[in-house]
């Protein structure tokens, strides 16, 4: 029974990921006084891409075509760890948050290789910038998750969710506040949103993620775009699950199962609105200011870990 629910949860995350992206773009457009595209636009884009040809440079190696496959598989596997509807997910084990972070790293490793394989200077530029951002984002990501794990006296994501659910509403400890701030900054860097990277830019010199996928087209590009959307909704769902899980059913009940998707949708909409507000309000940072941004996230996460010992 739990398995069915967990599989359903994963499929929901996969299917709803483009919608989340569409909602964020729509809200950004409205905030910027434009009409914007409809929220279902990413779906039609994916359908268009799947029906097109895959253009491959003749100098490319099989790694070029392998990269989107590995990226998609790794991102889906990472999404299988995230509890969205109820307190646990399809995959879970002791120390699974480390596995989640490194599965995302696996996908990114192959995407960088695919970018380098294109043989163009833009691929190399995107790859080297992405290497910088992801290197600096690893430490705050793991430290932030470690701080939450230590505060919850457990090493599984499901355990952390259960512990936060057991705390009373509005109880905010310094550890959680700092870890949330750190993980929010890291999530922005990992998913490539403003102020680290502009997902809607058309200027090559301001691109990080877009420059890496410049050579991809057709179904390969569709898998990459979908994987990016899954990563965004997985990180949002993870932040919601760790820091705002109220509304998730703890035990099985029909009422709980009916309410859970509605609550999840509302929370995701709220986070999407916050993201749209942030993206419209801030300008993209210059490349060499991104280390400062991530350094701030690192300081916050180090403080979060230090606080876990000071508040015992």
């Amino acid at each position: 029974m739990t398995y069915a629910l967990d599989v359903l949860q994963l499929l929901l995350l996969l299917a709803a990921a483009p919608l989340v992206r569409g909602v964020v773009s729509c809200l950004k457009a409205r905030l910027q006084n434009r009409h914007g595209a409809s929220v279902w636009r990413p779906y039609s884009e994916l359908r268009k891409l799947f029906s097109k040809e895959d253009l491959v440079p003749p100098t490319a190696s099989p790694v070029f075509r392998l990269a989107p496959v590995v990226l998609f598989a790794a991102t889906v596997a990472a999404a299988a760890f995230v509890p969205a509807l109820h307190g646990s997910a399809l995959l879970g084990a002791t120390g699974d948050f480390i596995l989640l972070a490194y599965l995302l790293a696996l996908g990114r490793f192959f995407l960088i290789l695919g970018a380098t394989d294109g043989g163009s200077p833009f691929g190399g530029m995107g790859a080297s910038r992405e290497a910088l951002v992801s290197t600096l984002a690893e430490a705050p990501l793991l430290l932030g998750l470690t701080a939450v794990a230590i505060a919850a006296h457990t090493a599984t994501i499901a355990g952390m969710v259960r512990w936060t659910l057991a705390q009373q509403f509005f109880h905010l400890s310094a550890v959680h506040a700092l870890a949330f701030a750190a993980l929010a900054l890291v999530a922005i860097a990992e998913t490539g949103r403003v102020p680290v990277d502009n997902p809607a830019t058309h200027l090559e010199l301001t691109m990080i993620h877009e420059a890496m996928v410049l050579e991809y087209s057709g179904p390969s590009l569709a898998w990459i775009e979908w994987a990016g959307a899954i990563k965004l909704s997985a990180m949002m769902a993870l932040l919601i699950a760790l820091f705002m899980p109220w509304g998730m059913p703890v035990s099985f009940s029909v009422a709980g199962l009916v309410v859970a998707p509605v609550v999840f949708a509302l929370k995701m909409a709220a986070v999407a609105a916050g993201l749209a507000l942030l993206e419209s309000g801030m300008a993209k940072l210059r490349m060499y200011l991104v280390p400062d941004f991530l350094g701030m996230a690192c300081a916050l996460s180090i403080l979060a870990v230090v606080f876990t010992a000071m508040m015992r």
């Binding site: 509005f170 905010l172 400890s173 700092l178």
Partner: protein, 220 residues
């Protein structure tokens, strides 16, 4: 009423966390307007703290103090400082002696220091350790702001943050200050800030800049 007292208790318990975050963000801020906005956010948190304390200890005075704090520190002083920033035209950027990352790390190191320093007093006075540590952290970070920022206006902001810290410490240890002392401190602060605002314009008119590091040229 049970819900409100629960909310009050939780506000009190969580305000320290928010104060730490404003301290760190102020260390990283690059524009003076951001610093002033963060300062007024800090004072808003302190207002909430005073309201919660007043509710829990059933003191009417506390509500008056809260209103006063809100009016003076959240509205008037930030407004005055923003006026000065707009008037100066060159004070928009915070010029620092340390890079933003270094400032953040130094401020982040001051926070555990505050905790360590406060530990014996927490046991002796039986108060909330986090709030007292937040107070000491505010004092230390205000002092650090004054030391590491070069513009005269930032020195003022550092001073008011420091005063904030003393204020929080007072609230924590005495569970609400007597109103008379409170009013006295406020007027002191108000006059001080207004005078500083005037002086900053005078400095600018005389020297054409407000960079305190250039005061060194006044040496004999």
């Amino acid at each position: 009423m049970g819900l409100i007292s629960l909310a009050a208790a939780k506000t009190l318990a969580s305000s320290a966390a928010f104060l730490f975050i404003t301290v760190l963000l102020m260390a990283a801020a690059k524009r003076t307007a951001t610093c002033i906005a963060l300062f007024s956010a800090q004072c808003a948190i302190i207002t909430a703290q005073i309201l919660a304390t007043a509710y829990l200890h059933h003191s009417g005075e506390g509500f008056l103090v809260a209103i006063l704090v809100f009016a003076v520190k959240v509205v008037i002083i930030p407004y005055a400082l923003l006026r000065v920033v707009k008037g100066l035209k060159t004070a928009g950027e915070v010029e620092t002696s340390t890079t933003p990352v270094q400032s953040v790390y130094i401020t982040a190191a001051l926070i555990p220091l505050a905790f360590v320093v406060v530990r014996p007093y927490v046991r002796a006075l039986a108060v909330d350790g986090q709030l007292l540590a937040a107070a000491v952290a505010l004092v230390l970070s205000g002092a650090f702001l004054m030391v590491s920022r070069k513009k005269a206006l930032m020195q003022v902001i550092g001073l008011v943050v420091l005063e904030n810290g003393i204020f929080v410490a007072a609230i924590t240890t005495t569970s609400g200050m007597p109103l008379v002392i409170e009013i006295g401190i406020f007027f002191d602060l108000l006059i001080g800030v207004l005078l500083m605002g005037v002086f900053v314009f005078r400095i600018r008119d005389t020297f054409d800049h407000v960079d305190v590091s250039k005061l060194r040229q006044l040496r004999g």
